[in-house]
Amino acid sequence: MRHAEILLCALVVASCTGEIGDAPIKAEVTEPGPCEVAPARGTTFSELRRLSRTALANTLVALVGQSVARDDEIQAALNGLPSDTMILAGDFASDPPVGLPQTLDRIAKRASSIALADSAWRAAHLPTCAATSIPDDACAETVIREFGARVLRRDVEPADLALYKKVYDDAGKGEVGMSFVLRRLLQSPALAFHIERGAESSAGSIHLTTFEIASRISYFVADTMPDDELMRAARSGELLTLDAVRLQVHRMLQTPEGHAKSRDFFRYYAHLGDTPDPLSIYAARHGIDDVTGLGNQMRDEAFDFFDHVFFSGGGFHELMTSTDAFPRTTALATVFGSGIATDGPVVAPNHPGLLHRPALMTSPTMRTSPIIRGAHLRKLFLCESPGMPPNEDVMERERELGNIDDMANRDRVTLLTDSPTCLSCHVSINATGFAFEGFDQLGVPRTEETVLDVEGNVIATWPLDTTVADAVLGAAEPQPVASSIDLAVAVADSYAGRSCFTQRLFEYYRASVVAKADACTMSQAYLAATKGSLEDTLTALIAGDDIFYRLEPLP
């Protein structure tokens, strides 16, 4: 359990409460060894989980195909559901949205109507016997077996067959009967929830069926139902070993849905939504005449960068230090000081790693803000939670100081936060922000701080000092850094950075906060983050012993 303690200790350290004298807890930074607690995980699987909107949409596409699922009315119904976009760990609501039954009712009606009327669809999605003609009883059973297995994500059992055959019969058989079977299936509990009935049970853990394991893999990795290969693997019993699970995780990651989910993870990790365009007066200093859309070009570049590192087998160190860049426009290439990326990456030595993506450094402001940059980076990539200072303290401090605009950023911030209460958090926030003062509002390297008026005239210049004597990274000993580039390398080598990345992966892919019972899983994933690639880290989080189990429900 020592490894779990290390992990939990690191999580505690990553919390700055703002209290005076809140001394950091020193954790022993050693690599975790093999995990001895199995299967510890299960806490977040003890309850019935629902499909997210993305998972439902992907499942519908997989079940009825793009031509039907992209129908305007079906899309409108889906878009009416809450987006389920993860912003914070654990913010995924367990309860289905109140509109879901009605949405599924509408979708099922519409989908069966347009699908059955389309001969191409029938040929592609139904057994041959139902491709062109009104199905007879035998054909109806074949449809129920084949289409039903896909909807239920398991083989259709005799009781299922009898149930849906009765639906077919009661509705009058033929085309109408088939329509009602499809509608009933498309509103089944499997479209709303991840149904895990499980197999044998022992010591409070229920072993899942191979079909249920296949579903977990598929939805964890790609937010969609198991494809034919996963269903085949489930039927063959292959999914009972971690090696087999890892193979499927790797395969599913390469699918378009797996790729899309990894990109959405990056959105969550880096908090990258729409990125505002920088102010044109600062862009003009670099010869950029038009800033329209530049913010989102920066964002897209950051996504491309993450994709590149993740899918080329890169690890956390590469994520934090790689000088590869993907500027697709002249304006963004100017920001990077590089050429335009066409087929592959270009090299941008001044922009190593994720922390130096312009998308994370840009701001549409007249001056850079070391506090906002510093706090942002520490929250996102070191998993710290500095919180906010009391209003009244800030007001009082600002009253005391009066106008301090006519100073260099570093001096201004140092003065503003120079009190014991503020420094309990700001000592690390400021240090991070100061190191990044070597970049302006566009994320272009600079050698001095230049302040413009609204017309773009220079009204002040200040010398820069990006050195930090004691950069704090989690529980490790503070270390001196000369600039943000040194800091990025320090983060790349830090326990705090890697464990934060691992934590964010867990939070996103498991739609959960990290609980004590997850310590073993987290330790194994951290080990992968230290020695392996980003994909290895994700695989370790998914392909752990706990994927085979769920806990016995509470009474």
Binding site: S83, Q102, R184, P553
Partner: protein, 488 residues
Amino acid sequence: MKFHAPSRRLFLRGAGAALALPFLESLVPRTARAQSTARRVRYIQVQNPYGPTQGLFFGNRTTNNRVAPDLNTQRLTDIAGNISPIFGAEWNPFKSRMSLVRGIDVLARTANHHYCLTTCASSYAAGIDGDNHPPASGQASIDALLAASARVYDTTVPETRRLVTLNPVTTDDYSRTRSFSWKQASMGVAMVRPVKQTDAFYSLFSTGFGEGATTDPRETSLLAGVWDDFRAVRDGTRISAADKRRLDAYMGLITDISAGAAECSEPDRDDETGGIETIIDNQFRLLAAALACDLTRVASIILGMSEGYGVRHDEHHQLMGREQNGVVTGLRTDFINNGRRIARLATILDGIDEGEGTLFDNSILYYSMQYGILNYGGQHNTIDMALMVAGGGGGMLEQGHYIDYRKELGGGVDADNRRGLLINNLLVTFMNTMGLSSSDFELPGRRGYGDYPDNVTANPNRPNAAHWLTDAGKRSPLPFLYKGPVRG
């Protein structure tokens, strides 16, 4: 895009052209319910992110009527011209039927990016940073609490129609997936995710608007079968009690699909390719029709910004200085647009005659912002909230005034330190107006509504400070504003 024929009984087109129609009992659905008095009061809250300056929201108000010590007012009809930039010309016809409420504070534990200050009377727990954390009070927001109350709805009213949470704006990444509504869920209090699209909003009421009614036994049998499928899961041996409740809730919603609600008429809708204002107006008309037909009584509306967090958040932090220097920011423009939008909603509501007053008169239209009035260094302000109450709640709310509850300490620098009354009591005011007494909203072992942090002490800068922390004080509506029956 889906278009609908003009309705038979309600034809709500254009903010200024609403027709006044007599209230028809036939519009009341079969499930008509708890508030059976002639004047059913509806509750509509509207919020937007960030906070305004004093000038933008309240204008340059000074009071001229001392109602009581530390309670000063000014009649809004005494104001020549517009009340303020946010309450511009569109609000002039409503001056006697709205009140601006000044000097209401939140007992916040932190000054953070809260989404529950003005609807939960609570902040997050200390040390929490983020926008989706539940209120420290552990209590649902007022709209969700009203929606769950037997004083507002009887038990037959389905979940889908008890609380409508709309958020039509899509350009604001900060608010587009969020709401100021927090409901009790299986894992505690959770943010209600809003409805975005008009079609999805319509679908919540489609049975009430007559859609889906069928006599085809195969259709009813289909839904009964779907219900059975979920029951089979619920009755499984490996289902926890919490999951059984979750499945029961889902099955209740299935029942609602086939039950139907009423045969109310839906309003006409404009082509939404016209842009966000058209979408908002379409949703406002649908909401008005649903309220008029008693398909719902509680609504929460979130009006976001035309730009996302990256732009507007910085502008918010700079707004005070920019306003002082006369710099027009996008945030200012968005605030003013939201003022106009809410005026359009008021106009639509006012166009529906319910016999004893209009739908507007029989509603509480509550507008507030994420934060309070900006002060120097206080952008995430939790004191001096920006609040407007219109509609009068069926005659139970005093209207037509700028009401200042701040302690009389004089002007100058001290003015920044003045405190007023608590938002907890404003929300108690609304609950009293909706017929709830303290026994209907208090948590076991607690008094009043919302958060009263352990370290709260009677602030000497607050009027009658100690009283508001007593049991009686916590259960009291705001003086002057509330003129309904004593609920206790």
